[in-house]
Symmetry: C2
């Protein structure tokens, strides 16, 4: 197995690099949650991160390390999710042009957040992997943009690992850390940070059963793919890369699966009992704990709550119908 190239020292360096530009997010606890699990659970709330997700950490770490020449030319990525907004904001803060390739059927709310709120240029493609790649490659060929991949990028991974680093700095006695896994950037960074901080910490990844490629890849040792991607946890529909699979196999204890219903139940617990707006992907780690998939009794567990970007338009439309002004 090749030696991983992201080291614990890279995560420490990333943290120094990004700390003035990102939020040191709070860690939330709940008496009800501890009583229900028989454990001490510490939620690292990346829903409170700038632009609403941990993605800001990796994007800022990557853009801030570009050469002057690369900064002058700009950056590009393909994403309709949190990475698009993170890259756009990080680039804007650093005075770098950002271009985001999005399928032309992307929800208007996501296009608007990326373009209008964070000032990136949006280039539309067909909603196929082929078109997405071709469009991105064409933009790079024409403009010499630097690609900042959502997760297949060591600087992005090192940045993502800073969430777990901060959690461990605050609660150094944690015995288990749990993170969601989609493309594997967050789980890679989390596992490298945790093992570097304390080699005896157990690290678990959790993914929706509907998109269980990471679990199967973890077991087989090669990249597996999904036949369906229709999980409600829209941030976790992506596949591992060779790079993230290598990090995860080297550092993670196991990858566990949760059902769609279990994700929704965990999300509801976070909203109703803990008053936290968390997106479905952000509730996946907690789902594995609430359902007992990870044995936590008597333990101190850190949970990465990855983000809080969810469309609440429908809920507020309903509420607006109730007012009598």
């Amino acid at each position: 197995m090749p030696i991983p190239s992201v080291q614990y020292s890279d995560i420490l360096a990333a943290h120094e690099r990004i700390r003035s530009a990102v939020n040191r997010t709070p860690v939330m606890v709940s008496r009800t949650l501890n009583a229900r699990t028989g454990a001490e659970v510490f939620l690292k709330c990346e829903n409170f991160q700038r632009m609403g997700a941990f993605k800001m950490r990796g994007a800022y770490n990557a853009v801030s390390q570009l050469t002057e020449e690369e900064r002058r030319r700009g950056v590009v990525t393909h994403s309709s999710g949190n990475h698009a907004q993170a890259l756009s904001l990080a680039a804007r803060l650093l005075g770098v042009k950002a271009v985001v390739v999005m399928p032309k059927n992307s929800p208007q709310v996501k296009v608007s957040a990326t373009r209008d709120t964070y000032g990136a240029e949006v280039v539309f493609c067909e909603s196929t992997v082929k078109s997405r790649h071709e469009t991105t490659e064409r933009l790079i060929a024409e403009h010499d943009y630097t690609l900042i991949h959502p997760y297949d990028n060591d600087r992005v991974i090192a940045g993502a690992g800073t969430a777990a680093l901060e959690l461990l700095q605050d609660y150094s006695a944690l015995e288990i850390i749990v993170a969601p896994v989609g493309g594997g950037g967050l789980l890679s960074g989390t596992s490298i940070a945790a093992r570097g901080f304390n080699a005896s910490i157990q690290v678990y990844g959790v993914e929706p059963r509907l998109v269980d490629d990471a679990s199967r890849s973890f077991r087989s040792g090669k990249l597996e793919s999904n036949t369906r991607i229709d999980t409600i946890a829209d941030g976790l529909r992506t596949n591992l890369s060779e790079r993230t699979l290598r990090y995860i196999r080297g550092n993670v204890n196991d990858i566990l699966l949760v059902s769609e219903r279990e994700i929704l139940d965990a999300m509801r617990f976070l909203w109703e009992r803990m008053k936290l707006v968390v997106e479905p992907s952000g509730a996946v780690s907690l789902a594995a704990i609430l359902t007992g998939h990870i044995p936590v009794k008597g333990k101190k567990i850190g949970v990465i709550v990855s983000g809080g970007n969810i469309d609440i338009e429908g809920f507020f439309t309903l509420l607006a119908q109730k007012i009598h002004d």
Copy 2:
């Protein structure tokens, strides 16, 4: 004007009394909010309080000061809102029986929270003020329970003031503090805490325009009533009492009004941008700032976000229809 009987020292004493049983809630800030208001805004997040609202502070402060004899007999209140749950939980923690009088048409979710989650006895009455009072009086006559009124009670008011006290302990340079006003217990306690901490702090109350009795009473000096109570801010449908009017006139700079739409917009900002589940009543203070009703530019402002208990059943029912497990 009579000398108010709740003093700053009572709030300090209340804080010592309750601090091991209540949460020291976090204070949240937002770059977006500061940029939008041109101010520094500090949100005291009582939605993260135990049972989801500041009411826990007053209820616990009141129940913990009962005599042994009073504790043995039990406590009673009339409320279908946060005070019912707060009194039930406080009483349970202190080993005291709690009885809550609720209109028989109360939503099942509120009955269940009070009875099943927090273990109080619920006694139903007709949904009139007369029936509520008669039922409560009858229970007191029969069982010698001690009435813990939701706001017309100095111990409840002193407890409510501990939220502002903690906020000022954390951010002593605040120049303005804003709190919602319904029955006036929170605003009374907040204003006494703020003036006691620093007599030059400006204190504002905010209420829905639809139930503007506090604003009119503040101006006229006598208790005014409402003709309508159908504000979405269901925690603020109550009227001031002689006691709370006296405290408020003695300590508050002004009471401002916000529309139902402004409440909803502020609530949406809190959910969407700050990822905080806040109930409509809890968003009322911020509404007065976001709409410019309070001149805050260049100032440091503390905002009491009073609670986060809102029925999200409908939203989750919609989400559940989207899963394909």
